[in-house]
Symmetry: C2
Subunit: 237 residues, 2 copies
Amino acid sequence: MTRTPPGYDPSAYPPFAVTVDLLVFTIHDGTFSLLLVERDAEPFAGRWALPGGFVQIDESLDHAARRELAEEAGVTGVEVLEQLATYGDPDRDPRMRVVSVAHLAFVPELPAPTAGTDAADARLWPVDVLGTRRGPKLAFDHARIVADGVERVRAKLEYTPLATAFCAEEFTIPELRAVYEAVWGVELDAPNFQRKVLGTDGFVVPTGTERTGAPGRPARLYRRGDATLLQPPLRRV
Amino acid sequence: MTRTPPGYDPSAYPPFAVTVDLLVFTIHDGTFSLLLVERDAEPFAGRWALPGGFVQIDESLDHAARRELAEEAGVTGVEVLEQLATYGDPDRDPRMRVVSVAHLAFVPELPAPTAGTDAADARLWPVDVLGTRRGPKLAFDHARIVADGVERVRAKLEYTPLATAFCAEEFTIPELRAVYEAVWGVELDAPNFQRKVLGTDGFVVPTGTERTGAPGRPARLYRRGDATLLQPPLRRV
DNA sequence: GTAATAGTGTCTATAAGACAGTATCCG
DNA sequence: CGGATACTGTCTTATAGACACTATTAC
């Protein structure tokens, strides 16, 4: 951090705006989905964008992300929130120089999306239509951010217990398997999946109870364990 | 990016300074090492810090990282440069609100480190003394950044061809193995390592030549392949 | 030749995938 | 009972690790 001309004079360094952008992922009706808001102001009015906003001068990046998550998406109490990357090309926002720190958030199920302050509309989009002709046109450089985020989520499912963040506090192994199948877009062998999850230390812990009410043998309930890394990982084919 | 009060008035958003910090890793005398500079100005005068500096108002983050790499470390033509994470706690720099985008750089071998503009000194430190009593005291929140960076490098060696970035353009399998051993701090079985590297599509391509001059059977030379992901990965034990 | 280093072959233990079979619910 | 879903067992195949062995250099 050996800076060339710093000091205490605010005019001595180039002024930037810093924002956080949020990639709020969920599984909605069995579909891996992302929350987007429709812009009603220029630039990019009518296009869809990631929720987000300015970082305040006295708050941390993480705090700004949680605040915007609550304000723009109505989501509170999210445990899993992590940085994706930072995007800062000089021309990414036509109004001014903006550096945006993109964050990933994972929610089990979203309450009815609420439109944020200057969003015309907010809704969940299936991830696999984004970036195709069937998907929305995205504002700014958000198409690239979304592509980076989706790939990151798919990769992290392999070697972290991230999938549990998409489940309710208590969940069954088949529910967890459905998360993997939705995110990866593949079918997994149920018996082998079960054995691998239970054989991975700290991935899930049994609650001792079962979920009944549906036809078929009742499924045992689990909570997430304390592992932060899956050893061995669950491999994407 | 639905921002609440933006517009074209620069006073309408909180002003930040944006910097890049660099984690320049290399293998020096068989030791996994990181370049640090000694600060000679307050704050943290006398402490060691990551090289870095302000992002100019009209350059990209990547460009700023490459420029600082050349200016502060005398390193040019680095191919492998990637974002680590962004650090922006309100009090991380006592002078002003600074958001820093940390980058990882990998160089085969460093020319004699040159002290940067306001660095008293610059040198390579073995990674495994950082964060211990035998290591230097770090400025700002750089201890945490370094810890994050080291872990990222160790992890990426598993599933990407990153290790080749520490080698010269042409290298032997034993040289590549030495990189893994230095970074992970383990000994690897030479025959098995050889088989795994050659069995991973696109990891390395033979040049058809050999390296002679040393005692022992000459080693075949390779160049890095075009793979970006190792399938299967090389697993850390 | 000897010492040193690179590379091959092979055996064994472990893990992954396929899939038959068993358990337990709803109606 | 039948259909549906959860779970267990087992067989086969692929992969990982240990390590004996062969190849080719410098001196």
